[in-house]
């Protein structure tokens, strides 16, 4: 029996160790500045969930970090919180970075809000930044994006491209952050065609972390929308978005004229989605890369960006991509809408009416 207990404990310990390897997969990448400055800025970056490789949000943050590494010669360290992260584990990660002298420390994702608020007070001399959330502390820069404005433009494009008068929206987790995408999209579409029919579907309720990882469900939901006549679908659903592309591609292969709209990064150019690029008419760009780069640059320049920084259309913080030439027929309408938003003539709401 004793043997059994021993084995059980070994198994348990081994599994925890492996789980730790997997979740916080720390990849310290030494910087490669041409002349290692004595006081090189060390940037700590904490991704949420599985981090890079989503072809979307986290990759955009990484792009900003890489640019800073190349242009400014900063030293970088990246950590992931892992899917089963709690506020306590996120706090540990941020403490680890701040303790290691990383400054700024950038937390990617709203999930870090609570943890960051706690850690920021303990390290008043470190500059922190958080993407997609507002943390009220003197040394924290809150990087928020006017996703509703960018989504308004994709809504304009969707309504202009739609021949059926029905368009669709696939959301990840049903939270205010994603609802703002939906709200802007609907408003934009209605500005073109007041009678347009918009079908929305979320992959999971608030708190259901699986919502971002279920492409097969997003595919089914999109199939349903297309069956009901939708011919342009916009997904803001993280890793689940792939299913939307698959469904639209299948419908296009079947001879239907249908378009997909990507999100966060320019998904037309994402290698992992190369198979689907032809049906991606545009992507709503959320320039997390711009924001991350700006934060790092500000610290390098000695004037940290703290407080609320709203990256909206006027700051090029959001927008839409034009890498697929198919979008050219609709850019005039989208650009006109963008001008109206910038001038304040149109104010886009963040809640679905």
């Amino acid at each position: 029996m004793l043997k059994g207990v021993k084995l059980a404990s070994i198994l348990a310990v081994a599994s925890l160790a492996l789980a730790a390897c997997g979740s916080s997969g720390t990849t310290a990448e030494s910087a490669a500045p041409t002349e290692p400055a004595a006081a090189a800025v060390k940037v700590g970056m904490a991704y949420d969930q599985d981090g890079k490789g989503d072809g979307s949000f986290n990759d955009a943050a990484f792009a900003g970090l890489s640019k800073a590494q190349a242009d400014l010669g900063v030293e970088i360290k990246e950590v992931n919180s892992g899917a089963s992260a709690t506020d306590a584990t996120r706090e540990e990660l941020l403490t680890l970075l701040a303790d290691g002298g990383y400054n700024p420390v950038i937390a990617v994702g709203f999930a870090y809000s609570t943890a960051l608020a706690a850690v920021a007070t303990k390290y008043p001399d470190t500059t922190f930044a958080i993407v997609d959330s507002v943390v009220d502390a003197p040394n924290v820069g809150s990087l928020i994006f006017a996703a509703e404005q960018g989504s308004y433009l994709t809504g304009v494009i969707a309504a202009s491209a739609s021949k059926s008068g029905t368009i669709g929206f696939i959301g990840g987790m049903e939270i205010d952050l994603i609802k703002a995408f939906e709200a802007g999209y609907i408003e934009g579409a209605q500005s073109v065609n007041p009678d347009i029919k918009i079908e929305s579907k979320y992959m999971g309720a608030a708190g259901d972390n699986t919502a971002w990882n279920v492409p097969e469900k997003a595919k089914t939901a999109t199939d349903g929308m297309i069956a009901n006549g939708a011919d342009v679908i916009y997904a803001a659903a993280g890793g689940s978005g792939l299913g939307m592309f698959q469904s639209v591609k299948a419908a296009a292969d079947g001879g239907a004229t249908v378009w997909a709209i990507g999100v966060d990064s320019d998904q037309y150019t994402v290698p992992a989605l190369a198979e689907y690029k032809d049906i991606i008419v545009t992507s709503m760009l959320k320039r997390v890369d711009v924001a991350v780069y700006d934060v790092i640059k500000a610290v390098v320049d000695g004037a940290p960006l703290v407080g609320i920084n709203n990256f909206d259309l006027s700051k090029d913080g959001v927008g839409y991509s034009t890498s697929n030439s198919a979008v050219s027929a609709f850019t005039a309408a989208a650009d006109a809408a963008a001008e109206k938003i910038k001038s304040g003539e149109v104010v886009v709401g963040t809640t679905v009416k």
Partner: protein, 404 residues
């Protein structure tokens, strides 16, 4: 015996279609029994059904398999890893093999070393989660089309079959909206529409399990290892070997379920199982540790998931509420006939509340549909727990020579 059984099955199927048909007629929502809904429900049900079947194999041999989720995760990973490089069938085999490794691990811990089965299973869940994430970073980060959290696309497709000669006329019949007939037509057409070879294999595995475990000497011995291993041992049954075989096969089935999921998503993605291993375990309990009931439970989960996802304007959720109410009334009626007054009143009151909700509210949050299968499982467990009978020695560590 078989005559009685098939009569009961036909009766149950008849009742189910009638209830669906009543709901469809009242709501006027053709989606409830449409060809596409049924076909998609089978796709969502299959991985859950395979996990449930995996549970049956392990638990019938007396080993509680909480590690189903972990074995499924290993299966999704195996399918993504091999499927990306050598094609979809290599993916299926690798998914099964990876699941088998998970099963073997549980067998070594639980059977050979007599470790508490819940702890061993939980360890496998944690191990699989961590290991696959670690390996995904290692193997997929630099692969073209892959990333830290997902594999490149799996190459090739599993063949699917559509029997046009059956589907087309039946779908047309479904659209006519005739009571019962059209619904039956939609259900049958759904079975032959985009039917994946893997779904057929899943079905055959259920048939094979029913036969092997309940109609052969092998099955009797295997089940005896789960009912009373000491008695089985005294009659010369090699209990440990049977337990090993059952648990490893359980892992293979869970791995196949994982592979099915990865192939449906065309990639491996961290967290894609989304708790389906545990749902499989729930369907097994729902199904009283038997293949038929387990399949029914899995189809219920798949059906509700599908309706929620292909829903437009929340009509399907409304339909489900009514469906639930009618089912509750039906069960209440049966309880009344069996003179179980208290249970009957409970069901009838609950049914009335749902009917009231159906007619008073214009729309329902989609979350209602999401939690519906769990509530149903809880209801079944709460009301039928007297009749559910797990294997007698389920979860009891067995040591040869021990007396009990």
């Amino acid at each position: 015996m078989t005559y009685l059984k098939s009569r009961r099955f036909i009766g149950a199927a008849f009742t189910a279609i009638t209830i669906l048909s009543i709901t469809r007629t009242i709501t006027g929502n053709g989606d409830l029994t449409s060809t596409v809904t049924i076909a998609q429900a089978l796709v969502f049900a299959s991985p859950i059904a395979l996990a449930g079947l995996a549970g049956i194999w392990a638990e019938r041999a007396g080993v509680i398999n909480i590690g189903l989720e972990g074995m499924m995760i290993l299966g999704t990973f195996g399918a993504g890893w091999a499927g990306w490089q050598w094609g979809v069938w290599a993916g299926v085999l690798a998914g099964v093999a990876f699941g088998a490794i998970g099963g073997l691990l549980l067998a070594v811990a639980a059977v050979t070393f007599g470790v508490d089965q819940i702890i061993a299973g939980t360890a496998i869940n944690l191990l699989a989660l961590g290991l696959t994430k670690f390996l995904a970073i290692l193997l997929f980060t630099d692969a073209p089309g892959g990333g830290q959290a997902q594999s490149p696309p799996i190459k090739g497709d599993i063949p699917t079959f559509t029997l046009e000669s059956i589907v087309e006329p039946l779908t047309a019949l479904h659209e006519k909206g005739i009571f019962f007939v059209s619904d039956l037509a939609g259900l049958v057409a759904g079975l032959f529409y985009h039917l994946s070879l893997l779904t057929i294999i899943t079905f055959l595995l259920f048939v094979m399990t029913s036969y092997l475990l309940w109609k052969t000497a092998f099955g009797l011995r295997l089940r005896s290892a789960g009912e009373n291993p000491w008695a089985a041992d005294s009659l010369g049954v090699k209990v440990v070997q049977y337990k090993y075989a059952a648990v490893v096969f359980s892992g293979m089935l869970a791995g196949l379920g994982g592979a099915y999921l990865s192939i449906a998503s065309t990639i491996y993605r961290n967290g894609n199982t989304a708790g389906r291993g545990f749902i499989g375990l729930a369907t097994m309990i729902f199904g009283d540790w038997r293949p038929g009931g387990t399949a029914a439970g899995a189809i219920m989960f798949g059906y509700i998931d599908t309706l929620r996802l292909i829903d437009t304007g929340n009509q399907n959720v409304k339909g489900l509420i009514l469906l639930g109410a009618i089912i509750l009334f039906a069960i209440g009626g049966i309880m009344l006939r069996k003179a179980k007054r208290n249970s009957a009143i409970g069901f009838l009151v609950l049914g009335s509340v749902m009917i009231g909700a159906y007619f008073s509210a214009t729309s329902f949050p989609p979350e209602v549909a999401q939690v519906a299968p769990y509530i149903t499982t809880l209801l079944v467990l709460a009301t039928a727990s007297q009749n559910l009978r797990p294997p007698a020695a389920d979860g009891v560590p067995y040591r040869k020579g021990d007396h009990h």
